[in-house]
Symmetry: D2
Subunit: 309 residues, 4 copies
Amino acid sequence: MSDVSKYTGVFPIAPTPFNPDGSIDWKSADRLFNCYNEIGSDGATVLGIMGEAPKLEPHESLELLKRAVKALAGKPIIVGVSAPGFAAMRSLAREAMEAGAASVMIAPPNTLRTDDQIVGYYVQAVEAIGADVPFVIQDYPLITNVVMTPGVIRRIVTDNPSCVMLKAEDWPGLEKISLLRKWQAEGSLRPLGIMVANGGLFLDFEMDRGADGSNTGYAFPEMLIEVVRHAKAGNRDAAHDLFDAHLPLLRYEQQPVLGLAVRKYVMMRRGILASDAQRKPGSVLTATAKAEVDYLLARLARTDKRAAL
Amino acid sequence: MSDVSKYTGVFPIAPTPFNPDGSIDWKSADRLFNCYNEIGSDGATVLGIMGEAPKLEPHESLELLKRAVKALAGKPIIVGVSAPGFAAMRSLAREAMEAGAASVMIAPPNTLRTDDQIVGYYVQAVEAIGADVPFVIQDYPLITNVVMTPGVIRRIVTDNPSCVMLKAEDWPGLEKISLLRKWQAEGSLRPLGIMVANGGLFLDFEMDRGADGSNTGYAFPEMLIEVVRHAKAGNRDAAHDLFDAHLPLLRYEQQPVLGLAVRKYVMMRRGILASDAQRKPGSVLTATAKAEVDYLLARLARTDKRAAL
Amino acid sequence: MSDVSKYTGVFPIAPTPFNPDGSIDWKSADRLFNCYNEIGSDGATVLGIMGEAPKLEPHESLELLKRAVKALAGKPIIVGVSAPGFAAMRSLAREAMEAGAASVMIAPPNTLRTDDQIVGYYVQAVEAIGADVPFVIQDYPLITNVVMTPGVIRRIVTDNPSCVMLKAEDWPGLEKISLLRKWQAEGSLRPLGIMVANGGLFLDFEMDRGADGSNTGYAFPEMLIEVVRHAKAGNRDAAHDLFDAHLPLLRYEQQPVLGLAVRKYVMMRRGILASDAQRKPGSVLTATAKAEVDYLLARLARTDKRAAL
Amino acid sequence: MSDVSKYTGVFPIAPTPFNPDGSIDWKSADRLFNCYNEIGSDGATVLGIMGEAPKLEPHESLELLKRAVKALAGKPIIVGVSAPGFAAMRSLAREAMEAGAASVMIAPPNTLRTDDQIVGYYVQAVEAIGADVPFVIQDYPLITNVVMTPGVIRRIVTDNPSCVMLKAEDWPGLEKISLLRKWQAEGSLRPLGIMVANGGLFLDFEMDRGADGSNTGYAFPEMLIEVVRHAKAGNRDAAHDLFDAHLPLLRYEQQPVLGLAVRKYVMMRRGILASDAQRKPGSVLTATAKAEVDYLLARLARTDKRAAL
């Protein structure tokens, strides 16, 4: 069984920085990964949906991963490898591991329906990538339209020793986390990292329910890090206070399709990215939307100086 | 446990006859049900999707059922009661049973995803309609978008003694029928009627696989009856010969939305229905489509005199 | 064209109060509707999804509506009439109007796909309920899986003079509201009430974008009323301050399936409902979830005394 | 505008031949493509869904294409390039064109809903692959869950001069073909190849409605070729006679997931493929299913000697 203990803390989901002409902005990429490292991230995820992975050429994907591996030296990098075919998944997974990734993340395709189909899919995926490649289950029904019961997750984890983590973003998902943790306490489910996402919308309570940390891409990863630390230290009120201060902006990021545009815009305003450009086809913020984000940042700056831009 | 032995042979799915002004054509309804009885149907289903049930007022639905019960005196009538809410399902089910129905048919709502959700839904449905009301599972993923594994069907059947029949229209469904029959032979699944539908497209082989009969609405139910009899008598070639002769027309009926218009048009040409009208909103055949059906009927008439209209 | 000017302000979505035995708690229903009236609601919606409408018998639905009409004397009541069939929709719509409803709300069925199908559906619905019955378009793709472009909404509004309001809960929906308002300013879209929902998650900015008000069921409708008033008075900061204070709890309500349980629990704790029971099949809060809500209420009470329970 | 006149006749959809160990069986591939050429195919499609494209490595895909190009020397080869990301689509399209493909086929992703989204997607796809690459629209809602109205197809064709063909497999689709042909006759839609698929289930009438030919993978492409020739020569009865003789087997192929297994099994029995193996994960026929296919072949052999195996 792979080492699951390192899947804890905060692993930001990295956006891919682009220049306005659509080429990758490598300087911003380095700055972004260095930023993640310096603020105390425990790892990172690259080439996820929010990383615009499907728009990247294979050599770009690999280069991006290598830079993340280097900047976050020693910290685990998860690489999204979901693909419609097992050939592409296998290639990307093998290459990613060679380039220094710690594990790969696999979401189920939206054609799966029954419990057995879902379980069977992960068996096939592991057969494709190799049982030696640690993998993460992405449980995100809002996007995948695939609903995994806690029992299905247990079957996948039990059947596949190379499963190291659950990226838990079911909605609602609080009781699911509680039940999985209960099963582990009882010994009917083996150890497994559980990191939460869903844009961070329930991070405060997910930590209370036993999550190991956060694996999402909010534009202020420092907040995620502090909330997770507070929660682990038992400072519940402090965790909620900080979380609540960021909630209006974090909530604004929860707009499908537009969320990435908001994140990149804030990261640009923060000086982390040189541009908020997305590679085509991408979403753009209207002037009104940018003004709304600016307003939220100004309000946030009253309690969190980092937002004073 | 309810009596499952009567769910065998051919139960035509009845269309609801309308006058061109949208009112129910009761005379045609009586003629239709009498026709079903005289040609040797073993029962019938009313108020299914093909019966335009959602367009009927409750008193119309009940009257239609009563006429079917009367015309097919003694033969079991299945009534479709699928509804978005359990209140409506309960009302219709109780009223249908009082009016002489043999059982009710329930399709799962298209929001169900996991195995447990499907099994749980049938538990709730039985709680709503009462455990004394025999019911039929409709397994029709092409329409419901709900996929039931053989194991899920076994759980529903085992959990609910009032389940009397499976309307099997998964696609493909041949191996499913074989597996359920195997489980029954081994004793791990209790007796249960299995009648097939899916427009009849695989009736020939479904009978070979062990189906009890047909529960569909093809415009020549006599063909279904003869094919089922041939199959049960072991006359495999005769069953296929007759089936194959009808296949071009039966295939033409397999057009979603248009299928009912084809059936009603053929039944009108056969003199069973006075009109092929549907209550609004309904589908209509173009002149070209009618000419295609006429052409198919003319070709069919070369081997089946019933099609010489 | 119907009068659209009354669709403004706050119309709470009413839950249906039940006793623990599943019968309707009429006393709580009266208290709830009186509460809506006294705090300054401008109307209300009954028999929506959150009203557990599909579990009610027709006579219960009608009685509930009549009590709402009486308690909110003179204020418009919207009645949800979405149904899988036009017969049921027509019956409920006609009965609702006779019982004093101001208008009916219709969501598109989740089988619609193309622009023309959606537009055509509303034409058929109006034909069914009658062109004299004012109706509300419910645009809620997260639940209905039907995506209406602004252009499709304009076609529906233009084709059907009886359309009085858009319940806008697309996600994201801010730009949609802005565009519809722009079209109205330019004269290419006639006047129409636009009230927002989606659980209230974006109410603050939706008001900035030009919404007429809120049509959702948050457990503190007083907050919705004050935010809408602040927004209309141009007190942007005050609107956001109050909204942000409630956001952690409001966000907690945003859990599909569980949201209603949270609302009923808070309303019970507030003394508005005698019980948080749902008619079966319903969702229930675990003890942990209730403690989380209590914690959120205690935190909210620091700034909003109404939450000090 | 690209040359659309060559998209006529029969373009078989090629399966990818594998050895039992999962490697590509190049010898069978050559035999298959030579067979297509010798029987009079007018072109072919490779790397479609039925070609198990997502399981192939990029170099395998390219090699397969090159062999098809060589064997069918001079005849147009269509290459499936549908992909979740435009980067992969662009790479494959450019490489395919360099390797001799005539055009690429693009199906819309199943997340598209509105008319504008569908039209916009094709604009983006053309931007990705280049306006100089001829492309085919695949209209297959049963698989893609995307419904394109005739009007949407016209917009795509009009907006993109590089569109050369519609692969028409809507279901039902007869009236759609008639309407598109009517628009072309009226001059409101420019010339465009319309080839039909859907497993061939409606080929007989689709030719009557004006289709240019067939683009499907039935195991006896000779039948498709003869039916298309008869239809084009005005021999309607002869076309239907031959089609009807094959319909029982062709219908048996219409089983989702299992269809490819049936095709490969028949092609193996015909001596075209050395094995009916699929690369993992694949579907397999049970002994019972194989016996059913054998039975159908034996029956077919009574009228078509090619089926006497």
